[in-house]
Amino acid sequence: MKKDGFLYTVIFSFIVAFVFVFFLSLANQITKPIVEATQKAGFYTSVLNAAGIDPGNDVKATFDAAFPGEDPDVVDLFTTQWNGQSILVRRFSGPGLWGTITGVLAVNGQVDQIIGLEIISHSETPGLGGRIEEDWFKNQFRGENIPSGRIVVKKGTGEVDNNPNNQQVDGITGASLTSKSMETIINDTIQRIKLEAGGN
């Protein structure tokens, strides 16, 4: 068969594409369980951290103890009674500056206090908007009282806002748009929790 002929070219392209794609699917299939396990463990850890529960050594066991029978594949709102306090944890996702920001937000049973916030994924600028995943930013939300059901992310001043009663947290300097997005996402999530938990 002629190497530059039509038939050879078609057959060659087909075989090459088939072989390479076959090996890719194989690699993907083999590693799939590992990837899924990592993602799931990451999600459990985020939910527990947001709710202020120490994940301990066995994340899965702690999660099952705190949220019995709640499967993250099925539900978005997790409820627990932990140390006598009722805690609601809601998965959220919303638009950031560059892409979707996903995470979990924990509030108390009356939805008038934020328990904690965890960011699971985002694609904000590293070092600017990307700092939403840093502890100093997330910890500002911890214990913040929100009687009005809203929170304000202030223009970044570089000073961490530790006052739990002013319904404000400090934004990120140089990342006003990401800070604004976070405010919108958090407030939407609080409203959603109120709606969904209101039925009980």
Binding site: D4, F12, S13, V16, A17, T31, V35, S123, G127, L128
Partner: protein
């Protein structure tokens, strides 16, 4: 074109460096260099992909019909990039998360296609592999140099370890992509000056 391994190494690291002589792979230079750790892993990824894709192209070169040569090369490169992405996601999830979409962008790194086409297509497999690895190395050291300056001035850290005292203000611009343009331009200027000086000296 050099064909001794030592000459290939020298060529790819300095005299014919893919970044500052051939001006290839600039997009990733801008994107990942605000942090040494990410830059290092990105460079390793590029070395892996350039080496193996040049090798594969070289092995298959007598079989590939001329008409579909480029598209087959692209397929081979994409294959190695996706393999790399899968491996990172499964075994180094933290790094995979930090690099995000940039791993996939290795496909668009022109160095890889450039080496496969210019070298792998006309040389033996082992030499092509060596050429790919050293090209990746040439890319790596330039990127690491830029990342060193950007991370130091932008975050005050090196590989995430704080080194600058906190009273020195951080340069926000260094964290953002445009600073890579300035540093890249500056680096090109310095290196070209050195090269021209050497040429003038050897000519005299």
């Amino acid at each position: 074109m050099a064909d001794r391994p030592a000459d290939i190494l020298k060529d790819n690291l300095w005299f014919n460096n893919p970044v500052f002589i051939q001006i290839l792979g600039i997009c990733s230079t801008l994107a990942v260099t605000n942090n040494l750790t990410n830059t290092f892993i990105m460079s390793m990824g590029v070395m892996f992909v350039t080496g193996f894709s040049s090798f594969t192209v070289s092995v298959m070169k007598t079989l590939i019909p001329r008409k579909v040569r480029m598209i087959v090369q692209t397929l081979i490169i994409a294959f190695y990039v996706i393999i790399l992405d899968i491996l990172l996601r499964a075994y180094l999830p933290d790094i995979s998360k930090a690099l995000g979409p940039y791993v996939g962008l290795i496909i668009t790194n022109c160095i890889i296609m450039g080496r496969a086409e210019a070298f792998g297509q006309s040389n033996g497999p082992l030499l092509s592999f060596w050429d790919g690895i050293t090209s990746g190395l040439g890319y790596a050291w330039v990127l690491m140099a830029i990342a060193f300056v950007r991370e130091l001035l932008g975050f005050g850290t090196l590989f995430g370890i704080p080194v600058l005292p906190t009273f020195i203000p951080r340069w926000t611009i260094m964290v953002m992509a445009p600073s890579a343009f300035f540093l890249m331009g500056g680096l090109l200027w310095i290196i070209k000056t050195i090269m021209l000086k050497k040429e003038a000296n050897s000519g005299a």
